[in-house]
């Protein structure tokens, strides 16, 4: 065989390998609450953006069927992504991308990472290190749906291993993250679906909603922490007439702002 043909075939194989080892294709996992949730028509679209959902080991249940990373999954993701697609010029597909920190480089293909119920996470040292690297290279982590003192401490147990040296601070109303698209000076607690049954807008001792964050050395938010609120449920139940529009609306606006903030800072 001529050397030129050999080189061409080698290049082709390398290119194909590049595709294989490139961004992983969309894949669904069994959720804690949903199975066989319908796929939107654009699920195969080669879009610029999709929100990565952080797969993590939970403190009590391990990698079992009811893993806490799958809470609200995939209904909340798909509702939200369809909203982002409709409300902004972000080219996003309407399906999420579950991403594990154990996958060698996959997380670095998805600069926006969303972690739900992080009051139950139990990151390994390797995962902490990977998450730290991800954030310092320019990634962004939004965490949500954890409540009260105990879950905060569990979250911080993991986060302090990611960033032992960076403080968690309350976000100032003037921070661009609250103004990049919508002005979100007036924020309030967004309850989860438990409100249908309990009528309470808070869970555990998480009475006061807190918008917090961890900044990088240039004053950019790397970790956006939504504590004592359940934005995930708000996106999930936004098509349910029982769920009040004002909570759903704020949850969408926060998510849109956080997404655009990530894509601009």
């Amino acid at each position: 065989m001529r050397p030129r043909i050999v080189v061409s075939i080698a290049l082709l194989i390398l290119s194909l390998l590049g595709t294989i080892y490139a961004q992983k294709p969309f894949r669904e996992y069994p959720g804690a609450e949903y199975e066989n949730f319908p796929l939107p028509p654009d699920w195969r679209e080669n879009a610029e953006f999709s929100r990565a959902r952080l797969m993590y080991p939970s403190i009590s249940r391990g990698w079992g069927r009811y893993q806490s990373w799958t809470i609200d999954y995939p209904r909340s993701d798909r509702h939200l992504l369809a909203g982002i697609r409709r409300l902004t010029r972000i080219h996003t597909r309407s399906v999420e991308q579950p991403v594990s920190l154990d996958d060698p480089d996959e997380v670095f293909n998805w600069p926006f990472l969303y972690g739900v119920e992080v009051g139950h996470w139990d990151l390994t040292d390797a995962q902490c290190q990977k998450l730290r690297e991800f954030l310092l290279r320019g990634g962004f982590l939004m965490v949500d749906d954890f409540h009260g003192t105990q879950e905060w401490e569990i979250f911080m147990a993991g986060m302090s291993r990611v960033f032992p040296d960076r403080p968690v601070v309350d976000l100032d109303n003037k921070d661009p993250i609250f103004h990049v698209l919508y002005d979100l000076d007036e924020r309030f607690q967004v309850p989860g679906a438990q409100w249908f049954e309990t009528g309470r807008i808070y869970e555990k001792d998480g009475i006061e909603p807190r918008w917090r964050g961890i900044y990088d050395d240039k004053g950019r938010i790397m970790v956006a922490i939504c504590h004592n609120m359940d934005l995930g449920d708000a996106w999930e139940w936004s098509d349910d007439p029982r769920y009040p529009e004002k909570w759903a609306s704020l949850a969408y606006r926060i998510a849109v702002n956080y997404t655009i903030y990530d894509m601009t800072h």
Partner: protein, 752 residues
Amino acid sequence: MFEFLFKYPSTVFSKGQLVLLGTWPVWLLAASILVGAAVLGWLIWKRKLGTGSAGRSAVVWLLQSAFLTLLLLMLWQPALSIGTLKPQQNIVAVLVDDSRSMAIQENGSSRLEQATKTLDSGLLKALRDRFQVRLYSAGETLQRIQNTASLKAQAPATRLGDALKQVAAESASLPVGAIVLLSDGAENAGGIDLNTMSAIRQHRIPVHTIGFGLEAMSHDIELVDLQTPSKTLADSRVQAQLTLRQRGYAGQRVRVTLKDGGKPLATRDIIFKADGTEQSEAILFNAGSAGVRNLEVSIDPQKNEENVKNNRLTRVMDVDASKPRVLYVEGEPRWEYKFIHRAIDDDHSLKMATILRTTQNKIYRQGIDSPDELVQGFPTKAEELFAFQGLIIGSVEANWFTPAQQELIKEFADRRGGGVLFLGGRFGLSDGGYLQPPFTDLLPVDLPSSKNTYHAQTAAVAELTSAGRDSLITRLDDDPVKNVERWKKLPYLMNWQDPGSPKRGALVLMEASPAGSTRRVPTLITQNYGHGRTAVFATGGSWRWQMQMPLGDRSHEVFWQQMLRWLVTGSPGRVVLSTPKSLLADESRVPLRAEVRDKTYQAAGDAQVEAHIIGPDGLNEKITLQPSAQERGTFTTDWEAPKPGSYLAEVVARRGNEELGRDVITFRREDGIAENFRTEQNRELLEKLSAQTGGRYYRPNEAGRLASDVEYSDSGITVRETRDLWNMPIVFLFALMLRGSEWMLRRKWGVI
């Protein structure tokens, strides 16, 4: 030998005109030759059996015809008409190069000693026997001297052009018949310009030159030139281009060192090419913080090197404190935007303002100078857009810009001299509708006519082309080999776009190989456009170079910072002050030139332009620049730098009370360095000077002939003489040879 055969010196033949002194007309000569040749041909043809064959007959005919032609020509009395100088009525100016390079010792004596010896051992006397001789010392100025003892070889520079111009001027009132120049040809004050040459030719004064000095040294390294930009941005990677040549060290590895005021900036090991070959080497260095860089490039003296003073060169470079601004317009939130933004955030010498279309009807602005800046979106006025030096057009539809804005973008590059970079994307290039004027003019590529050229989420591996390997935009490592290796290690691009084919004159710096294809698509293409430049980076997926590379790897940041520096470097301010000589080597005249434009970058011919110059010993002077008649908006002056040292000139342009702009340059005068360079005899210059003026070049051992050659000149007081040619020995020899040849041939053929 020549004179023995031809009776006269070769000068007579090169300068004289051939004439026929015979009274018979020339046509009769031609007719006689033709008739004679025909008769001979007829006679030989009739007797061809006598020679044996037609070929032999033809040879005999040719020899006999040539002999007949020679005889007939002599009957018409050929002669040379030549102008000769009248004895003792003409002046011969003898110019002796008195510069320092003439003090160089070669073969036991200096060049000047060799020159004076040549003069004093007979040449001067021979000239004085025929002409009035004026002896001059040619250094920085031309001075008349009485004898060669006055020559000292101490002038810091040679100005042969000025010296010759002065003698030519004297010839207007004096009968200067010829100039004799004794020099090593080491002219280092800008060469002999066309005006000087034409003045000498106008007076028809032949310049005879005698060259001194070795034409090639056995062991020498000479740094010929160091090209650096006169201005650059702080912390820029700068490429200095060093030209050098050497003899005696071919194949040897040496270290080139670049310093700023004694502080090392860069070193590079090079290998010398063949002896006498001019070689060019690039030296990359970081410009550092704002201020003046006194650059000095040097090579350590090597073993047996004959002249070590030409191993060092100095230049001045301004590192600009200003922060050029780039406007980036993006049509959709995307990762490329975020990571370009972050890369430029790290660059303290650049500022970037951005307009991002977040929704159909909203824009988000970053990097703005005031709350009102760009509040209405993309600028609609020239002065607003032209305040930026660079423009990036991302994934935004062409029709988002109004026709007036589109025209403004073209003018931004064309008239204002800014840089425009088009990025690939969903709404970029062909897919964004850029296949329409004025973008088709502006782009460095011919876009494909089809859409769907953008391939999202399709990996493509970027690779540098040969032009890319040399470009400062894509230089991630100063070492060219390591640079290529670093590019090979970069992860694939997240997407790619087909930009079409590069236009003629455009430079492709990078290509991409899309996944699953052996095709290579141009990815980074640049070109100069009007006063500015344009480029295409046909991807929106370079952000993976940041996210996929380990923390601390700065490839992505460096690439984008260099990309934007390329975009803005060369974008002029409204006032641009320049001088062609930032280093005055044994010179004092500084030509200053200011180009002045108004806010819309139209030439401001009605401006008042004043320069404020600060120099050594408290020099503080203000001068007014005068408008140029040829170029509107251009103001010039020539200024004399009185002393060696560093100077700073700041020019301010005003229109009434309004300040149009200001600019600063630095320059330095250094004395006593020019003569250290080009120390080999510049025979080429001396020969050219002689040839163009009707003189001759002589080696010192040939100078004995010069006095008689000088006699033949059309300048000064001359008479025309004719010199017979019929009695030249060569004529008789030629006639004998023709007849003898025929006789020998006939003997050989046995037909006598």
